[in-house]
C-alpha cells in the first residue's frame, strides 16, 4: 500500500508569533516543527505500514525550502521518503491553492491512502483535506478516531459528541484524523540518525505543471485581515459557604464536561 502523509511545517506552539504588514505569519526556521496535529497522521501512517507488509510511507509537505529539516523531523519518527513542494511563488498561498498543489503532488507520487491531520496549528482553516479530495475526485473520510484498511476498503470511526459513526470508502481514499486516534511515538535515536539518509525530493511548481499565477499570494482568494491573541485572563468563579458550595462546584464541573 502506498501511504502518503501530508504534513505542514508550523511554528512551535510556544514560539512568539509575529506578522508581516500584509498579515503573513513570519516563520523562523529555528521555531519550525511538524504541525502537532499531523503527528497523529504520521503515527497512523506508520501503524498502517506496520500492519500491511510491503507498504511505504511518504511524507509530503508544501513549504519553504528550509522545510527539509522539518520533513526530516517527521522522517525521524519513521517512513521511507520525503517530498517537499517548494517554490518562491507559493508564499502567501491560501487553503485552496495549497489543496491544488497537494493534489498535483499526490497525482505525481501516486497513492492508495493519504492521511492528514484535521487542521494546522497555525492557520486552523481545516479545509485542506476536503479541498484536496475534491480536486482529486477521491473520497475523504474525515475526523477519523479509528482507521482500518481491509483490501480495497478503508473504514473509519468518526468521533462525535455522544458517540461515533462508522464510515467506509473504497481505496484510494483520503483520511483526516483526530487526536483520539493514537498516541504519536517519540522518534528513536536511530530514527533521528537514519532520517538524514532517507531520500527527500524537492518539487518546484514547474515539476507539477502548475501556473505560478494561480497559487501563492497572486492566486489567493482568502485574505487574512488581522490576528489577535486570545485573552488569557483567567475567568474565576468563587463559590463561598458551607451550604451547597460543593454541589455547585460539581455542577460547574459537569457543565464544563470535566466530570
Amino acid at each position: 500500500m502506498n501511504i502518503v502523509v501530508c504534513m505542514k511545517e508550523t511554528p512551535s506552539t510556544t514560539a512568539e508569533k509575529s506578522f508581516s504588514p500584509d498579515m503573513r505569519l513570519e516563520r523562523r526556521k529555528e521555531d519550525a516543527i511538524p504541525n502537532p496535529f499531523d503527528e497523529y497522521a504520521i503515527e497512523e501512517g506508520l501503524r498502517q505500514q506496520e500492519k500491511h507488509a510491503g507498504s511505504t510511507v511518504t511524507i509530503l509537505c508544501m513549504g519553504p525550502a528550509t522545510a527539509t529539516d522539518t520533513v526530516r523531523k517527521a522522517l525521524a519518527m519513521g517512513g521511507d521518503r520525503g517530498v517537499l513542494v517548494s517554490d518562491d511563488a507559493l508564499a502567501g498561498s491560501d487553503a485552496i491553492s495549497t489543496a491544488h498543489v497537494l493534489a498535483a503532488a499526490l497525482k505525481k507520487i501516486g497513492f492508495d491512502l493519504v492521511i492528514f491531520g484535521n487542521a494546522a496549528a497555525d492557520a486552523y482553516g481545516g479545509i485542506v483535506p476536503s479541498a484536496t479530495a475534491e480536486l482529486l475526485g477521491a473520497p475523504l473520510l474525515s475526523y477519523a478516531s479509528k482507521l482500518d484498511v481491509d483490501g480495497s476498503t478503508a473504514t473509519i470511526e468518526r468521533q462525535a459528541d455522544i458517540g461515533y459513526n462508522t464510515v467506509a470508502a473504497p481505496m484510494p481514499t483520503l483520511v483526516s484524523v483526530v487526536k483520539a486516534i493514537n498516541e504519536p511515538r517519540y522518534p528513536s535515536m536511530k530514527g533521528i540518525m537514519a532520517s538524514k539518509k532517507k531520500p527527500l525530493d524537492t518539487f518546484a511548481l514547474a515539476d507539477l505543471g502548475i501556473d505560478p499565477a494561480t497559487v501563492g499570494a497572486a492566486g489567493a482568494r482568502e485574505k487574512a485581515l488581522s490576528a489577535e491573541k486570545v485573552s488569557t485572563q483567567r475567568k474565576g468563579e468563587i463559590f463561598i459557604g458551607n451550604e451547597g458550595a460543593a454541589d455547585r462546584v460539581v455542577a460547574f464541573l459537569v457543565e464544563q464536561k470535566v466530570l
Partner: protein
C-alpha cells in the same frame, strides 16, 4: 566559529526535552519521595536508544556524536537529576570502557546489551579508603591458573544493584610496576559471580531514585579474559573515562541549573507581594539575570570541552573547568531558586527544594570541586 547545532543534534535535544517534560518530570516528586528506581522510565529510554547514544550502530548504539549525548543528558537532567545520573553512569562509566578498551568479543558480549538498554552497567573505582585519591585502590586481584581472584570493597557505586544491571567493571591492584607504583587493571565482574556481594542501597540526600551501593569481593573469581584491555592499563583507562565523564556531568549540571532557573523565573512572575509580581523587584531580577548568564556560560564550556574531544584534541583541562563551573553554577542556581521561592521553596511540594538537595552531589561525584581545581592547576 559556528555555534549552530547540527540538525540531528537539535532533534536529539528536542526529543529529550519533550521526553523529560512528559515522561520524567511528572514522576520526579514521587521518585524522590519513595527512592524507587525508575524502571519504567529507564526502559522507555532504552527503547528510544537513549542509553546507547554515543556508540556505533554495529554494537546497538545510535551512532550519535559525543556532544549529542551531552545535549541529551542536559535535557534529561533538566527533567530529573536522578534519571540523568542513571543515564550518565551507565553510558559514561559503564558502557564507554567497553567501547574504548574492550576486545571485539567483549564488545559483542557486553556493549551490545548496554547500548540497547537491555542491561545497565556500573563502574567501581571508589573505595572506603580511596576516594579523591583514586589511585589508592586497595582491592586486589591475583591471577591463578587463568582465573583472577578478587578481594576488597568498593563504595558509592551507581547502578550496581538494579534488576537490570549486568555487572560492574572495577579497578584492582594486580601487582607492582617496575617503578614501585601499583599496577592497576580493570576487571569485569558480572552479576551473580560467586564471592561478589552487593550491599543495600544507601539512603541519600539527593539523586534518591538512583541506585548507589557498596560492593564486597571475597575470593571472587573471574576468568582471565574478564580483563578490560591490557594488564596494568587500568589507571590510564579510568583517567580517560573520568575526563569524558566530567563533560557529561557538566551537561547534567547545566540541566539542573536550567531547571532551577525555569522554576525561579516562572514563580517570580506569579508570586505577588507589595502589590506586584516579585519579578518586578530589581533584587529578584538581578538574581535571575545572574542565573541566566551563568547557565549559558556553563553550557558553552561543556560544548567547548565536548567539541575539543570530538576534534581529537586534548580536553582534560576544559573538562575539569566545565564540570567545576557547571556544578557550582547549579549550586548557586538552586540556592537562589529556593531564595526566590521564600518559605515555599523550603517545602517538599516545590521542586526547587528537591533541586537544592540534588545539586550538592554534583560538586562531589566524578571528582570533587577541590580535585577539579587541583587538576586545572596542574595543567596551567
Amino acid at each position: 566559529m559556528d555555534f549552530t547545532l547540527s540538525a540531528e543534534q537539535q532533534m536529539i535535544r528536542d526529543l529529550c526535552r519533550d521526553f523529560a517534560e512528559n515522561e520524567i518530570k511528572p514522576h520526579a516528586e514521587e521518585m524522590d519521595r519513595t527512592s524507587a528506581f525508575p524502571y519504567a522510565i529507564i526502559r522507555k529510554m532504552g527503547n528510544l536508544g537513549l542509553l546507547g547514544l554515543p556508540f556505533p550502530e554495529e554494537y546497538g548504539g545510535a551512532g550519535a556524536d559525543f556532544l549529542s549525548y551531552c545535549l541529551a543528558l542536559e535535557e534529561i537532567g533538566r527533567g530529573d537529576a536522578a534519571v540523568g545520573i542513571t543515564m550518565e553512569a551507565h553510558t559514561s562509566l559503564g558502557a564507554t570502557p567497553f567501547h574504548l578498551f574492550g576486545s571485539e568479543a567483549q564488545k559483542q558480549r557486553y556493549l551490545t546489551k548496554l547500548a540497547t538498554g537491555e542491561q545497565l552497567w556500573a563502574f567501581g573505582l571508589t573505595e572506603p579508603g580511596a576516594g579523591s585519591d583514586s589511585a589508592g585502590t586497595e582491592t586486589h586481584a591475583e591471577l591463578h591458573d587463568g582465573t583472577w581472584r578478587i578481594n576488597g570493597a568498593k563504595n558509592f557505586i551507581t547502578n550496581a544493584g538494579t534488576e537490570m544491571t549486568g555487572g560492574v567493571t572495577i579497578t584492582a591492584v594486580t601487582g607492582r610496576q617496575a617503578d614501585g607504583h601499583k599496577e592497576i587493571t580493570n576487571l569485569i565482574v558480572p552479576q551473580g559471580t560467586p564471592g561478589y556481594s552487593i550491599g543495600n542501597p544507601y539512603h541519600k540526600m539527593g539523586w534518591r531514585a538512583s541506585d548507589t551501593r557498596p560492593l564486597a569481593f571475597e575470593d571472587c573469581e573471574v576468568p582471565v579474559e574478564n580483563m578490560l584491555g591490557a594488564r596494568g592499563e587500568g589507571f590510564r583507562q579510568f583517567m580517560h573515562i573520568l575526563d569524558l565523564g566530567r563533560v557529561a556531568i557538566a551537561a547534567l549540571s547545566v540541566g539542573l541549573a536550567q531547571a532551577c532557573y525555569d522554576e525561579a523565573l516562572a514563580y517570580s512572575r506569579e508570586r505577588r507581594q507589595f502589590g506586584k509580581p516579585i519579578a518586578a523587584f530589581q533584587a529578584i531580577q538581578f538574581k535571575l539575570a545572574d542565573m541566566a548568564m551563568e547557565v549559558e556560560l556553563a553550557r558553552l564550556m561543556y560544548y567547548k570541552a565536548g567539541w575539543l574531544h570530538m576534534q581529537g584534541q586534548p580536553f582534560g583541562k576544559e573538562a575539569s573547568m566545565a564540570k567545576l563551573f557547571a556544578s557550582e553554577t547549579a549550586k548557586r542556581a538552586a540556592d537562589q531558586a529556593v531564595q526566590i521561592h521564600g518559605g515555599y521553596g523550603f517545602m517538599d511540594e516545590y521542586p526547587v527544594s528537591r533541586y537544592w538537595r540534588n545539586v550538592k552531589v554534583h560538586e562531589i561525584g566524578e571528582g570533587t570541586s577541590e580535585v577539579q581545581r587541583m587538576l586545572i592547576a596542574k595543567q596551567l
